[in-house]
């Protein structure tokens, strides 16, 4: 029995990447996100013009070779502004989601593992936060904290925390009952040890998927807040703010709104495609449920 040859080593990560690489849409999403990452890091160098320098004689120029996306009402190059704004959008997205990830997952782990009144108290609180419409709550938080990019991140982070708490708690409830958790308790492992070592690694799948999808929502929220003047402050470019500025010129300068709008659409779509792909790769069972529902419809 001991002399049986071992099968070749197989890594789970590689399995997941294998499934993911067969999903063309997810790969498209991933490639777009990588490009966006490059733009976010090197936007200033890639931009053909200064994103903030005004040039009144050149105002409201339609797209041309010198200004591929045209210019705005102050003569600023829209392409440059869109490129530079990518950083702020991604930054707000990642930091805000990082915040809700850290807080939400911790709450979900504790509530799900310990159950009883800990669970009730934490989750009812999360439900309270969750009950407010996301943007409304973010506006309310910003009304208290004051506008600005840092506070926008905090506000978005708070708004998306309950989603992570719920997703995590749901998975923890099933993992908690697994025999390996019981086995760990039987040898005397403490609650925190079991949570960190056994529960967290086994609930990562849905959390990763939720992270990707939440990034899309967070970027959308940042755009909405900036549109309302609560996020990025002038003169720094932000996609949402550019839309707000374009509002008054829709009839005379369509390019002012269309290009930043497209930037938002592409980014959000890329995160969603990647998120869906990750879900299929990390949890094949969930995919089959969706497929079987499709047959019923």
């Amino acid at each position: 029995m001991t002399d049986v040859a071992l099968p070749p080593h197989r890594s789970r990560t590689r399995d997941v990447l294998g499934v993911l690489s067969k999903n063309r849409l997810a790969i498209v999403g991933l490639v777009v996100l990588l490009l966006l990452g490059v733009v976010a890091l090197f936007g200033e160098w890639l931009a053909p013009h200064s994103p903030t320098r005004t040039n009144i004689p050149n105002r409201l120029e339609p797209p041309s070779l010198t200004h591929p996306f045209g210019t705005d009402e102050l003569g600023r190059d829209i392409l440059s502004r869109v490129l530079v704004a990518a950083r702020v959008s991604l930054q707000v997205g990642f930091i805000a989601v990082g915040l809700s990830l850290a807080v939400g997952v911790t709450i979900g782990l504790v509530a799900g593992y310990y159950g009883r009144f800990v669970d009730t108290a934490l989750m009812r609180f999360m439900d309270m936060v969750f009950a407010f419409p996301a943007i409304l709550l973010a506006i309310a938080i910003l009304a208290v904290l004051g506008p600005g990019i840092r506070n926008a991140m905090i506000a978005i982070g708070i708004v998306y925390t309950p989603i992570f708490a719920r997703v995590t708690r749901g998975s923890v409830l099933s993992v908690r009952e697994e025999d390996y958790v019981r086995a760990s308790r039987s040898v005397g492992a403490s609650g925190p040890r079991i949570i960190v070592r056994h529960v967290l690694p086994n609930v990562m799948g849905p959390i990763i998927v939720q992270t990707s999808l939440s990034l899309a929502f967070a970027i959308l929220s940042e755009a909405a807040l900036s549109f309302l003047g609560l996020g990025v402050q002038p003169p720094d470019p932000a996609w949402g703010r550019m839309l707000a500025e374009a509002r008054g010129f829709v009839r005379v300068a369509w390019w002012m709104g269309v290009f930043p709008g497209l930037a938002i659409v592409v980014t959000v779509m890329a995160f969603n495609l990647l998120g869906d792909g990750l879900r299929d790769a990390l949890d094949p069972r969930q995919k089959s449920v969706i497929e079987s529902r499709g047959h019923l419809l």
């Binding site: 049986v4 071992l6 080593h9 789970r12 025999d179 390996y180 039987s186 005397g188 070592r197 086994n202």
Partner: protein, 348 residues
């Protein structure tokens, strides 16, 4: 009382594990209880193997979990080496975890898929700070794997890369890591292929001799239990209905339920096998949320008579087996004793 005489290593007295049934209302009032384990008593002597058999849902596994306090008992007492396990605080319970271990039924779910074999086997060492230091830890893990017949190189593998038999060996190695006195084996072979079952049983047997272990061996397969156990306790619907040493239980089963179980075991001898008369039990296992009055077994018993619904039978000695091991049975066929149904079942 026990085979070897003296203080038993484990004594279970009137153990109860009831699960509340919650109502649907807003207040989630408790509407009743599922009596998974309802007054189980037995002892295990040091170095002995007690087999615990019964059909699915009779409370065998729950009993095992409650002994280790992986489930909180609702009543009764568990004594381990003289100490009351049921009243232990967190600290003493942690110390106890070094002396009692468990091997689980399903080797596919009892090993964390995210941890390597080495990490799984060394978790008990981490928890109890045994064999600290990288080299010592690695050596100990290798030793444990060899003890259960696995190559030490398997330490870097993940559970999904192993066969069922290999996985169960890893489960045994984890249980052995703390050098326990008692191992509760919860159907350790039920989820394995038949060809592997004997290997694991023999492994457990060898380890018992080598390491002076005491086993509580839980199974629904009477043949396997007879193979490994010194004494056997038969459970039905949350209660022990008969206890005897294995030879006597096989030769002179005293409880109608035990007789039915034994009659289902095939005999590897064609003429005798042809003569074997199976006792087929009628009906289903009653719900443990609403057990019958008096004797639990009376709804399916072929020998049911007048006192059965009236008196809840107590375990009584009906003889002695090899080495003076008492043979106890809870059945009115051997004399009506026990508590009247009204008193014993005041709640239902």
């Amino acid at each position: 009382m026990t085979a070897g005489g003296g203080e038993p290593l484990l004594a279970v007295e009137d153990l109860q594990v009831w699960f509340p049934i919650k109502g649907n209302g807003v207040l989630r009032r408790t509407a009743g209880h599922v009596r998974a384990v309802d007054g189980v008593s037995f002892t295990i002597a040091r170095g002995e193997t007690l087999g615990l058999v019964g059909e699915s849902g009779c409370g065998k596994t729950t009993t095992g979990l409650a002994i280790l306090r992986l489930l909180e008992p609702t009543g009764g007492r568990v004594r381990f080496d003289g100490d009351d396990v049921t009243g232990m605080g967190r600290r003493r319970l942690r110390a106890l975890r070094r002396r009692m271990a468990m091997v689980f039924q399903d080797p596919y779910s009892s090993l964390d898929p995210r941890l390597s074999v080495g990490a799984i086997v060394s978790e008990p060492l981490d928890v109890h700070r045994l064999h600290t230091g990288r080299a010592a830890r690695k050596a100990r893990v290798g030793e444990l794997l060899e003890l259960v017949g696995l190559r030490p190189e398997l330490r870097d593998r993940y559970p999904h890369e192993l066969s069922g038999g290999q996985r169960q060996r890893v489960g045994v190695a984890r249980a052995l890591a703390v050098e326990p006195d008692l191992i509760v084996c919860d159907e350790p072979i039920a989820a394995l292929d038949v060809s592997i079952q004997a290997q694991v049983l023999n492994l457990l047997d060898d380890l018992q001799d080598e390491l002076d272990l005491t086993y509580l061996f839980i199974a629904h397969d009477l043949a396997a239990v007879q193979h490994v156990s010194d004494r056997i306790a038969v459970m039905y619907l949350g209660r022990v209905v008969e206890v005897a040493d294995r030879a006597r239980l096989a030769a002179e089963p005293a409880h109608p339920y035990t007789r039915a179980l034994l009659s289902a075991v095939p005999i590897p001898d064609p003429p005798r096998e042809r003569a074997r008369r199976r006792i087929i039990l009628e009906g289903d296992l009653p719900s443990p949320a609403d057990p019958p009055s008096g004797c639990n077994f009376r709804t399916r018993c072929p020998e049911v008579f007048e006192p059965c619904p009236r008196v809840d039978p107590a375990l009584q000695e009906v003889g002695r087996g090899t080495g003076g091991v008492p043979h106890e049975v809870a059945c009115h066929l051997h004399g009506v004793t026990g508590t009247p149904a009204e008193a014993g079942r005041a709640y239902s």
